[in-house]
C-alpha cells in the first residue's frame, strides 16, 4: 500500500509537470499563430488600446473587447473551458440558464437566473449584459471590482482577458477590472478569497443533483426489490446492482474493515457509487460533459469526509502508532512521529489529488483529441487538413473514451478501497507482541 501511494505521488508530480509544460507550449503556440496571422486586423487595436509593452506582441484575442471572436484556436484554453464549472448548463452547443446565488460584501445576497446576462443560446456562455454589477465570462460569473460600475442591467461591449487570465469588462470607453469568485486554494493556484462568493446551482451542482436523484431512485427500487422478493432470486435491475454491490462488499469492506464492516459500509458504498455515477455521467457526450469528479472542490470534500471518518473512528492503538510508535527506540520516535503525523494528512490529500488528476486528465485528453481537427484545419482555413483529421481524431477519442469508462470504475474503486484501508487501519485491534 505504501508503494502504491509513493507511485501515485510520482504520477501526480509527473502530471503536474506535464500541465506546466503544456502551459508553456500553449504560450509559444499562441505566439507562432500570431506570427502567421501578421497583418490581420486584430493586431491594429492591440498596440493602440493597451499598454502591454513587450508582452503585447501576442494573443490577438486577449485584446478583443468588441465581442467578436478571434481567429486563433487555443486547444489548451478550450480544454480548460470545457472542464470548468459553469453557471450555464450546456447540452451540445445549447446553453441553458441556471440559478445564480451570489454574495458580495456590499450588496449581500443576489439570487437570479443566469439568463439575465443575456448570453447566446447557442454559444459559449458569454453574457452581453452586466446585471447588478456581475458579468458572465465564459460561463462563469464575475463581479466588477469598480464601485462606479452601474448596478442595473447594462449592455457591455465585451470582456477582455490579460496574460494572467484577469478579466476586464469593457463598457463605453472604460475598462473595469473584475473579481473572480472566492476559492479555497489560499492563493496557491492563483485563486483566493475575494469580496465575492458564488453559491450558485452551477453545472456541476446540477450534475450532482441528477446523479443523486438517479441513484436515489435506483437504490430505493433495488432495496424495495430485496424486501418484496425476499427468498427469491434477484431480478431485473436488482441483478445488475447486486454483483457490483457484492464486489465492493466482499473485496473492499469485509477484507479491510473486518467484523465492523456493516458500520462503515454505507459510507464506502456512498463514496463508490457517488464517484462512479458522476464519473460515468461526465462521460456522456454532449450532455454537459460535466467534470465534477475532476474538480478539486469535489474531491476535496470527499477527502475531508474520508479524513473525518478515519480519524474520528481511530482507536487507542491508532493514535499510539502515530504519536508514540511502540517497540522502537526513543530517537527513532522523534523521526517517526512527524512522519506519521504528516501521513495522517497526506493520505486524504493523495485521495483528493488522484481522483482529480485522473478524471481531469481524461477529459482534457479527449478534448485535445477532438481539438486536433481544429488544429489541423487551422481553425477553418485548411479544409483538407480538417476533414483529413476527422477519422483519426474520432478513433483516438473513441479509444480514449473507452479507457475513460474503465478509469471511471477504477478510480471510484480505488477511492473506496483506499478509504476503507485507512479506516481499517484506524479501527484495527493491534497485537503488539506479534506485530513487533
Amino acid at each position: 500500500m505504501q508503494l502504491r501511494t509513493f507511485l501515485t505521488t510520482i504520477l501526480i508530480l509527473t502530471a503536474g509537470a506535464v500541465f506546466a509544460d503544456h502551459g508553456d507550449d500553449h504560450k509559444s503556440s499562441d505566439q507562432t499563430q500570431t506570427h502567421q496571422q501578421n497583418g490581420h486586423d486584430h493586431n491594429h487595436d492591440h498596440d493602440t488600446s493597451h499598454d502591454h509593452g513587450e508582452e503585447g506582441h501576442g494573443d490577438a484575442h486577449h485584446d478583443d473587447c468588441g465581442g467578436h471572436h478571434g481567429d486563433t484556436f487555443d486547444p489548451g484554453a478550450t480544454a480548460f473551458h470545457h472542464i470548468a464549472d459553469a453557471n450555464v448548463y450546456s447540452i451540445g452547443p445549447l446553453q441553458i440558464p441556471l440559478p445564480c446565488i451570489l454574495y458580495n460584501k456590499e450588496s449581500g445576497f443576489d439570487i437570479f437566473m443566469s439568463s439575465k446576462f443575456g448570453f447566446d443560446r447557442l454559444g459559449h456562455g458569454d453574457g452581453h449584459y452586466a446585471y447588478k454589477g456581475y458579468v458572465l465570462d465564459g460561463g462563469t460569473v464575475k463581479l466588477v471590482a469598480d464601485a462606479n460600475f452601474p448596478k442595473e442591467k447594462v449592455e457591455i461591449k465585451g470582456i477582455r482577458h490579460d496574460e494572467d487570465a484577469n478579466a476586464y469588462v469593457c463598457l463605453g470607453d472604460n475598462e473595469y477590472p473584475t473579481y473572480a469568485k472566492s476559492t479555497a486554494d489560499f492563493g496557491l493556484f492563483g485563486g483566493g478569497i475575494t469580496p465575492f462568493y458564488d453559491f450558485s446551482i452551477t453545472k456541476n451542482v446540477v450534475s450532482m443533483f441528477i446523479v443523486f436523484m438517479f441513484c436515489l431512485w435506483l437504490f430505493l427500487k433495488v432495496a424495495r426489490a430485496y424486501k418484496d422478493r425476499q427468498g427469491k432470486a434477484p431480478k431485473g435491475v436488482q441483478s445488475l446492482i447486486e454483483p457490483v454491490f457484492l464486489f465492493i462488499q466482499d473485496e473492499v469492506c469485509k477484507p479491510f474493515l473486518g467484523d465492523k464492516y456493516m458500520r462503515y459500509q454505507p459510507f464506502i458504498m456512498s463514496l463508490f457509487f457517488f464517484i462512479l455515477g458522476l464519473n460515468l455521467f461526465g462521460q456522456i457526450p454532449f450532455f454537459g460533459g460535466s467534470n465534477v469528479t475532476g474538480n478539486l472542490a469535489f474531491t476535496c470534500v470527499l477527502a475531508i469526509f474520508a479524513f473525518l471518518v478515519t480519524n474520528l473512528s481511530g482507536n487507542k492503538h491508532y493514535w499510539e502508532h502515530i504519536f508514540w510508535m511502540p517497540g522502537v527506540p526513543a530517537w527513532v520516535k522523534t523521526i517517526l512521529t512527524p512522519v506519521e503525523v504528516l501521513g495522517v494528512f497526506i493520505k486524504p490529500l493523495t485521495l483528493m489529488l488522484r481522483l482529480f488528476a485522473n478524471i481531469t486528465a481524461g477529459h482534457m485528453v479527449i478534448i485535445i483529441f477532438v481539438s486536433l481537427i481544429f488544429i489541423f484545419s487551422q481553425n477553418g482555413a485548411n479544409a483538407i487538413g480538417g476533414w483529413g483529421t476527422v477519422i483519426p481524431s474520432g478513433l483516438l477519442s473513441l479509444f480514449m473514451m473507452s479507457i475513460e469508462l474503465l478509469v471511471a470504475f477504477i478510480q471510484a474503486f480505488v477511492f473506496a478501497i483506499l478509504t476503507a484501508s485507512y479506516i481499517g487501519a484506524a479501527i484495527e485491534d493491534h497485537h503488539h507482541e506479534e506485530a513487533h
Binding site: T78, G123, T183, A184, G190, L302
Partner: protein, 173 residues
C-alpha cells in the same frame, strides 16, 4: 466559428466555495438517505439470504450424512440378517441330519426288535405246535389203540401189519 478563444484559466484546481458547499450537501444526502434506506437494507437482505443459503446447504449436508448413516445401518442390519439366516440354515441342516440319523437308528432298532419278536414268536409257535403235535399224536395213538382193540385181531402178524398201517396213516396225516 464554433470555438471561442479564452484565456487559459485552469479553474478546476481552485476549489470553489459554492461547489464545496453543494458537494457536502449532496454527499451527506447520499450517505444518509441512500446509505440508510438502501445500502443498509440491501446489505442486511444479502446477509439474510447468505445465511439462508448456508443454512439450506448445511441442512442438506446433515440430511445427506443422516442418509449415509441410515444406509450404513441398514447394510449392517442386512449383513446381520444374512449371517443369522446362514446360522439358522446351518442349524436346521444339523438338526435334519441328526434327526435322520436318529430315525435311522431307531428304525434299525425297531427292525431288530421286530425280527427278534418274530423269532421269539416263531419259537413259541413252534413249541406250541410241537405240544399240539404231541397231544395229537397221543390222541391218535389212543384212537388207534381203541380201533385196534375194537377190531379182533387174529394173529400177531396181522396185528403188526395193522399197527404199521395205522402208523403210516398217521404219518400221512
Amino acid at each position: 466559428m464554433l470555438l471561442f478563444v479564452l484565456s487559459a484559466d485552469f479553474s478546476v484546481i481552485k476549489p470553489d466555495l459554492g461547489l464545496i458547499l453543494w458537494t457536502s450537501v449532496f454527499f451527506i444526502l447520499f450517505w444518509v438517505l441512500i446509505g440508510k434506506f438502501s445500502f443498509g437494507p440491501i446489505a442486511r437482505a444479502l446477509k439474510a439470504r447468505e445465511d439462508d443459503i448456508q443454512g439450506a446447504l448445511d441442512e442438506a449436508k446433515n440430511a445427506r450424512d443422516e442418509m449415509a448413516n441410515l444406509k450404513a445401518e441398514n447394510e449392517k442390519i442386512l449383513a446381520e440378517a444374512r449371517q443369522e439366516r446362514a446360522a439358522i440354515i446351518k442349524e436346521a441342516n444339523d438338526i435334519k441330519s441328526t434327526m435322520i440319523k436318529e430315525a435311522k437308528e431307531k428304525a434299525k432298532d425297531e427292525a431288530q426288535r421286530i425280527v427278534t419278536n418274530a423269532k421269539l414268536e416263531i419259537e413259541n409257535e413252534k413249541k406250541a405246535a410241537l405240544v399240539q403235535v404231541k397231544n395229537e399224536v397221543g390222541a391218535m395213538a389212543t384212537e388207534i389203540a381203541e380201533k385196534v382193540l375194537r377190531k379182533q385181531l387174529v394173529t400177531d402178524a396181522e396185528h403188526n401189519t395193522y399197527v404199521n398201517q395205522l402208523v403210516d396213516e398217521i404219518k400221512l396225516n
